[in-house]
Amino acid sequence: MDELPALVIAARRGDRAAFGELYRRFSRAVHGVVLARVRYADAGDVVQDVFAIALERLPQLGEPAAFGGWLLAIARNRSIDHVRGKKPTDELPELPVEASRATEVRQVLAVLRELPDAYQETLILRLVEGLSGPEIAEQTGLSAGSVRVNLHRGMKLLRERLGITAEPESDDRETPVGGGVAR
């Protein structure tokens, strides 16, 4: 992400390819944040809205390096606006999954959406959008430590609520890890 500020500045100047690259990099993160609040069927549409709003407001972004956090804030606000005043509808027919799995997918999504905000977003980004922990930290602006704590606690809570009782045991051998390089 070293070149992120340059991409943002170029997009601000009207560079179409630069904005396209920003979309490529951040669209999954935006979708994950949106999916935490919005029905799957509507989420894709909201993602496109978010990027359209972002393009319009790009000149107002003071710090290009903060693009990720800024974009996801737009995504959260846009998602809240979208669901305001809408009745909850059954998600089942809209999911792009095999019928045999649809019920379970709907159940897991419902449980994820009931988790505390910090956990649900992080877990959706990891389990649905396939972002790794480091990628989540990079794109959301959160520290790696915070993301790791959210994943750990969120997954523990998810297991409890889904009724999965046992966590996998790993080898109890001590495996030395580097001594914490800090500057």
């Binding site: 070149e3 500020p5 340059a6 991409l7 500045i9 170029a10 100047r13 009207g14 560079d15 179409r16 390819a17 904005f19 669209s27 999954r28 994950g32 799957y40 993602v47 496109q48 809205d49 990027f51 359209a52 393009l55 319009e56 000149p59 999911l95 792009p96 999954v97 997918v105 897991v108 999504l109 990891r126 389990l127 649905v128 959008e129 396939g130 790794s132 922990g133 790696a144 430590g145 915070s146 790791r148 994943l151 750990h152 606690r153 997954m155 966590e167 996998p168 045991e169 790993s170 080898d171 109890d172 001590e174 495996t175 030395p176 890890v177 001594g179 914490g180 390089v181 800090a182 500057r183």
Partner: protein, 334 residues
């Protein structure tokens, strides 16, 4: 210790079957649609596409490594090969490759013995090392990724100015002291026993295969214990009683831990307790972390159980303790 969260974090380590199952179940919902250009065109009346070709990419600054220029000559330390320049401090001569000299170039593989003199060694373009009397060093590595000395005996004061960590290291029979951007004093005897005192920045002591590396920040010191794992980092302002308790633990192990934990109260003591929590396992580790939770609680209300379950979270706590120690060192009255 459980490392099961590694897979959840970055898919490394042993796959967590439940995480894997959920990933496969939910993967079809991942976003994969192209950018809706039409929608953008409607919105961007105030930001027309100019259609610039190319993207400006910021380039990170690179540190160019410089191998000290060599000088041709007949002396083995006169130049002609890669190495570090040296010069004696004051009068006197040192022995470079057993040849007396007041200045020259220490070649890779060569040794420098200061005898009764002192010398300054230039470490490429990243710093210098001052060698005390009766000090013998060997230059082991000069490369783009690492410059390494071997301190056979004596005293060395290193001042490294590069912002690139791990570029310089000093090995000895007691430990490999890896510079992470700092100034420190290192003293060892011929067995490799000694001490490292860090003045600025931090160093990492590696004693593979004897244990996990120990990080020593500025304002602290750590003993080098040849044939054993590194000592425990101790704040320079720790009480004599506490330091003695740490030394007893280093020498006798678990039976001596209770006294350490009983005496540990300050941010300085917390550094030592955190080092035990980081480098030990089993009951010692648990006891140390239980005490650490009282005298220097973990960030984000991390519990001891969570830290034990995930080494990265433990490292986060360890980093926080070192940060508090640095602050304490800066503000505590001498």
């Amino acid at each position: 210790m459980k490392e099961s969260d590694d897979y959840l974090w970055d898919r490394s380590g042993t796959p967590d079957p439940e995480v894997e199952r959920l990933e496969k179940l939910l993967a079809p919902l991942a976003f994969d649609a192209p950018l809706d250009e039409l929608r953008l065109r409607r919105k961007r009346s105030r930001a027309p596409w100019i259609g610039l070709a190319g993207v400006i990419v910021a380039v990170a600054a690179l540190i160019a490594l410089w191998v000290w220029p060599t000088r041709r000559g007949d002396s083995p330390c006169g130049g002609g090969v890669a190495g570090f320049a040296f010069s004696t401090i004051g009068d006197g001569q040192v022995a470079c490759q057993e040849h007396a000299a007041a200045r020259g170039v220490l070649p890779v593989g060569g040794t420098l013995d200061t005898g009764t003199a002192e010398a300054e060694l230039t470490i490429a373009d990243i710093g210098s090392a001052r060698l005390g009397p009766q000090t013998r060093v060997r230059l082991d590595v000069v490369s783009a990724k690492r410059h390494q000395l071997y301190l056979e005996r004596g005293r060395l004061h290193a001042l490294i100015t590069t912002s690139v960590p791990e570029l310089f290291a000093v090995d000895s029979a007691g430990a490999n002291v890896v510079d992470l951007g700092c100034e420190y004093d290192l003293e060892v005897d011929e067995r490799g026993a000694g001490i490292v005192r860090v003045k600025t920045g931090i160093v990492r002591l590696e004693t593979e295969p004897h244990g996990i590396p120990v990080v020593t920040p500025a304002g602290a010191h750590t003993r080098l214990l040849p044939g054993r794992r590194s000592g425990i980092a101790i704040g320079n302002r720790a009480t004599g009683e506490f330091a003695a308790a740490i030394h007893a633990y280093e020498d006798r192990g678990s039976p001596a831990l209770a006294r350490v934990l009983e005496l540990a109260t300050s941010a300085s003591d917390a550094l030592s307790v955190a080092t035990i929590g980081w480098t030990r396992s089993g009951d010692d580790q648990r006891r140390a972390l239980d005490r650490l939770a009282v005298i220097s609680p973990a960030p984000q209300q991390l519990t001891v159980d969570e830290a034990l379950a995930d080494r990265v979270l433990l490292e986060m706590w360890y980093d926080e303790v070192r940060d508090r120690f640095r602050e304490y060192s800066r503000t505590a009255s001498p």
